[in-house]
């Protein structure tokens, strides 16, 4: 049994960006915690700031004010290089646009972040390929795959890195019902196996229902 510890902390986080009709406030003093082994669904309308929330959590974007801690590190005090280190070692992101490396094979893409972090687990790679039905695609390139297959490769890459915090931006958006369930099973199995925390952005109430917790982002506030 993995000892639960706080993996992600948001304290009074605010974020705005310049829109066409002036400054748009997407997060207004958000407070939030996520512990290891915990799964959480983040829902919200399109444009409500879910992706921005996720990017701040992953250290890809910076908050205007407030405190963001990932595995105890205050991201606001870290340099770019240190934030990159935190991402590499502790965080994995499943992007909405997959962000696969087109010139690497599927197999190399799946192993990529694990290689960056220096913890490649060949058995896990094979297991993931089987669970996500990618065994026959390992030697292919991303451009040869359908959108759904690319989505699964992105998820496999995130899981293979064994992160402490897994951030997934609509990871099943391009998948059929059955495959979506298999992908979700794999994500949840990772949480169970490694004690990672999972923050998942979704529009699907069914998927949200399978998470430990569910928060809704509306007008910059969590409900």
């Amino acid at each position: 049994m993995v000892q639960a510890s706080r993996v992600l902390t948001f304290r009074n986080i605010s974020k705005s960006y310049a829109g066409e009709s002036g400054q748009v406030q997407v997060l207004r003093g958000v407070d939030f915690d996520l512990s290891s082994g915990e799964t959480l669904a983040l829902t919200g309308e399109s444009g409500s700031g879910k992706s921005t929330f996720l990017h701040i959590a992953g250290g890809l974007d910076a908050a205007d004010s407030g405190l963001v801690e990932v595995t105890g590190c205050d991201l606001s005090t870290l340099s770019d290089v240190q934030r990159a280190h935190v991402r590499r070692e502790n965080v994995a992101v499943v992007f909405q646009q997959f962000n696969l490396i087109p010139s690497l094979t599927v197999g190399d893409n799946i192993a990529f972040q694990a290689r960056l972090a220096g913890r490649v687990d060949d058995a896990l790679l094979i297991d993931l390929a089987e669970r996500l039905n990618l065994v026959n695609q390992l030697r292919k390139y991303p451009e040869d795959l359908s959108g759904g297959q690319q989505q699964r490769v992105a998820i496999a890459r995130a899981i293979a890195a064994r992160p402490k915090l897994l951030l997934a931006d609509e990871p099943t958006g391009n998948l059929d019902e059955a495959t979506a369930q298999r992908v979700l099973d794999a994500l949840l199995a990772l949480v169970t196996d490694t004690g990672a925390a999972l923050l998942l952005v979704t529009h699907s109430p069914a998927i949200a229902a399978r998470m430990d917790r569910h928060v809704h982002l509306s007008r910059g506030l969590l409900k």
Binding site: H85, V86, R88, E89, I101, S103, Q113, A117, Y141
Partner: protein, 792 residues
């Protein structure tokens, strides 16, 4: 982490082999032309250094005879008896090979022959001559004595004991005396012993390296131009590759690769690729240099009398220079892209930016840079001086014109679009305009290459026209005769006029006029000079003044270097001032010259007697026979005017063989740049062409229009290349030539040559566009459909 990142970066090239090929081939071509030229220059300089070292030039003072004369054995004996420690040298030429005889016992230099071991052994074997194996090829039969191979001896020379050389040359006189460094304290002055001989200090010896500097600088400039054109390919490829990898960069950073590490790895990547490209280029450059070197050697021999080995050796200097410039050039080409990546936010859009979003801004930047460079060119033209300023002007002008090209093409295409009548035509012109940012580098490379061709064709052809006319003026006498004995000279002067020929003695003496090394000529002023010599500028009674001994004719080189012109006066000796009555063109001659009447020449240099003569006659063949049979002259002592003209024109044509070869290679590189740009852009074109295909245009038609687009671009480039090329020719003829050689050439236009060049350039562009167009025509519909399938 480094390994995983480098694997991800290099995987791009594996998946895009055409881009990799474009990068390596572009860099290899650029490096090849640059290092080839460097290799030629290094070889030439090494030959000069070796020649100077073996001939003792610049190391010892020498005693020399008056121009055209020799030193007798009696003079040598008189000097030795008077206490002068000198070593005799006898020189001549056999079958185009310089032959040098020296006294191994007294000479302070061995002329390239190694000291034998043991020391007691004689330096030279009795009765033989020594030569480089390269020199020996094909000339062994020309010598009556055996030749021994010795690779230390400078190419183009044969060396041996003075007695053997005198025997081969059939003479007993000497050509110079080397003054040994250790001399007795009390010895008489040279002129007291031998008043007709001169002492030439070591520092006064002509440095062939300095004489040929301009020639090598010209070659280097061409090499640099070729390199710049090749670098356009590299820049274009790197730009495209980096644009396409913006997504990878974003992903790598999102997955935790720090930006500084990523930039460093990308620099390593470019560095490694540059090493591979440069190595290929150096190998290619070696072959280019080896192919061009014989022509260059011939040119240098013809123009400057410089002996250069025709065989290329591998020298570290050009290898390092080629490798260095290739790596630095590649890294410089990558700098802009690396800076963009460094400034790119981690969550930036992965859409290629530079080609599309910043096209307008890039166009404005190019226009501003072009304007600044053109102002710089004008400023250098007005206020600059020297050869470097001339080349800087050329660089500003050419780069400025290249940068202005996309800006100038733009309005043409807007005009065409606005006047298009059909939907397809409207789309064609709009799409053509959209391609400018993507193709601008290739188009600039093409502009540079075509302009360089126009410029060089204009310069060389203008030069040739002028040179042929010049030869007709200056080589008026039907025969040229060179004698060794004073009695032969007297016989020519007295007997030939009786046979109806006119004798024109050619007296000369190397001296200094207005601070410039000058060859002073004494001529017999008469109808030949009055009717044939065309002055650049002269007084109406110029020849009368020369005849009176009050004036002289200066060649253009002396006039420009000394800042003299018609009407100025100059001191010939301490008590003899003379007016410049005319300035005459003297193409192909590196030295300053001053022509005075023979009477004045004899007054100034009474010890010098004529040994060379021009002879005017109606029957050159008959006179030649008489000179040989009655006066006992050797056949080789008489040269026909027509033969001399032929040799001069041959030298001229060989001189520009190298230039023409580099010119063609530059055009080939530009064509290759076009091909690579079009090929690498084919994949990017698919999403742009798919909607047109979906709307009903056939793939065949799309391919044809792609080909047509290239023709339009090539024609527009030719249109702009003409004024740029003519501007280049004007700068070369009026600024660079004057600075480099001391003469200014008139400029002529050659419309047919330009037309031929433009047709060639458009054909090259069509050839470059053909393969990419065929690829588009054969594109499977599934690939076009994929464009829509991938849309989200």
């Amino acid at each position: 982490m480094n390994r995983a990142c480098l694997k991800a970066l290099f995987s791009h090239w594996r998946r895009n082999p055409l881009q990799l090929f474009a990068f390596l081939a572009g860099l290899a071509l650029a490096t090849a032309l640059w290092s080839g030229v460097q290799a030629i220059n290094s070889e030439a300089r090494a030959s000069y250094a070796a020649a100077a070292a073996t001939l003792a030039e610049g190391q010892f003072d020498q005693i020399i005879p008056p121009s055209g004369g020799t030193i007798s054995q009696d003079d040598f004996v008189a000097l030795r008896r008077a206490g002068w420690l000198v070593s005799p040298v006898s020189e001549g030429e056999v079958s185009g090979v310089r032959i040098i005889g020296f006294d191994p016992l007294s000479s302070p230099v061995n002329f390239g022959i190694d000291k034998p071991e043991p020391e007691e052994q004689n330096l030279l074997e009795e009765g033989v001559l020594y030569a480089n194996p390269e020199t020996m090829r094909g000339v062994e039969d020309s010598f009556d004595v055996p030749l021994r191979a010795n690779s230390n001896i400078v190419v183009g020379m044969t060396v041996g004991d003075i007695s053997v050389v005198q025997q081969v040359l059939g003479r007993t006189d000497l050509t110079r005396l080397i003054v040994l460094p250790e001399q007795p304290l009390r010895r008489p002055k040279l002129h007291d012993v031998t008043p007709h001989l001169d002492l030439q200090e070591a520092s006064q010896t002509a440095d062939i390296g300095e004489l040929t500097d301009s020639f090598h600088l010209n070659l280097k400039a061409f090499g640099l131009l070729s390199f710049a054109v090749g670098l356009f390919i590299v820049y274009s490829t790197i730009g495209l590759a980096f644009e396409q990898r913006r997504g990878i960069v974003r992903t790598l950073r999102a997955l935790g690769v720090p930006l500084p590490r990523l930039i460093s790895l990308m620099i390593v990547e470019v560095f490694l690729l540059a090493l591979v490209g440069a190595s290929l280029g150096l190998a290619l450059g070696y072959f280019v240099a080896a192919a061009l070197l014989p022509d260059v050697a011939m040119t240098l021999r013809g123009l400057y009398g410089a002996q250069v080995s025709g065989v290329l050796k591998f020298r570290a200097s050009w290898w390092v220079s080629g490798m260095g410039i290739a790596v630095l050039g590649s890294l410089a080409a990558a700098t802009v892209q690396l800076r963009q990546i460094a400034a790119m936010p981690i969550l930036a859009s992965v859409r290629p930016r530079a080609w599309q979003m910043h096209a307008g801004r890039a166009l404005r930047v190019k226009a501003s840079a072009a304007l600044i460079l053109m102002i710089g060119a004008v400023a250098l033209g007005l206020f600059g001086s020297g050869l470097i300023a001339g080349f800087a002007l050329l660089a500003c002008f050419l780069i400025g014109a290249a940068l202005a090209l996309p800006v100038l093409i733009h309005p043409f295409l807007v005009f065409a679009q606005n006047h298009a009548r059909t939907a397809v035509a409207c789309w064609f012109w709009a799409d053509t305009r959209q391609q400018i940012p993507k193709l601008s580098l290739a188009l600039m490379a093409l502009l540079l290459a075509i302009s360089a061709n126009v410029g060089v064709v204009t310069m060389v052809s203008s030069f040739r026209l002028t040179f042929v006319a010049f030869l007709d003026q200056r080589l008026a006498p039907e025969l040229y005769v060179k004698v060794l004995e004073a009695t032969q000279a007297v016989a020519i002067e007295t007997q030939l006029p009786e046979l109806g020929a006119t004798v024109l003695p050619l007296l000369s003496h190397d001296t200094e006029v207005a601070g410039q090394p000058t060859r002073l000529f004494g001529v017999r002023v008469g109808p030949t000079y009055r009717e044939n010599w065309v002055f650049l500028e002269g007084l109406p009674d110029a020849w009368d003044r020369v005849r009176d001994g009050t004036a002289a004719v200066a060649n253009e080189q002396l006039a420009r270097r000394a800042g003299l012109w018609v009407g100025d006066s100059v001191m010939l000796t301490q008590d003899h001032r003379i007016t410049i009555a005319a300035v005459v063109a003297d193409y192909g001659n590196p030295l300053g010259q001053l022509v005075v009447d023979e009477a004045l020449f004899h007054t100034l240099h009474p010890q010098i007697e004529a040994r060379q003569f021009g002879v005017r006659t109606d029957d050159p063949a008959a006179l030649r026979r008489i000179l040989i049979s009655d006066l006992g002259l050797a056949d080789s002592a008489i040269t026909n005017q027509s033969a001399l003209k032929d040799i001069s024109l041959q030298v001229f044509d060989r001189t520009f063989t190298v230039t023409s070869a580099l010119n063609v290679l530059t055009l080939a590189v530009a064509g290759f740049a076009m091909l690579m740009s079009l090929l690498t852009l084919t994949d990017l074109r698919v999403p742009q062409l798919a909607p047109v295909w979906a709307l009903g245009m056939t793939r065949r038609r799309i391919g044809q229009l792609e080909l047509m687009r290239t023709v339009v671009f090539a024609a527009l480039v030719c249109l702009f290349a003409l004024p740029v090329g003519l501007g280049l020719a004007w700068v070369l003829l009026t600024i660079v030539n004057v600075e480099a050689f001391g003469w200014r050439l008139p400029m002529f236009l050659f419309p047919l040559d330009y037309l031929r060049l433009f047709v060639l350039a458009i054909l090259a562009a069509i050839a470059a566009a053909f393969w990419p167009a065929v690829r588009l025509m054969c594109l499977p519909p599934a690939q076009l459909l994929k464009v829509f399938a991938n849309e989200r």
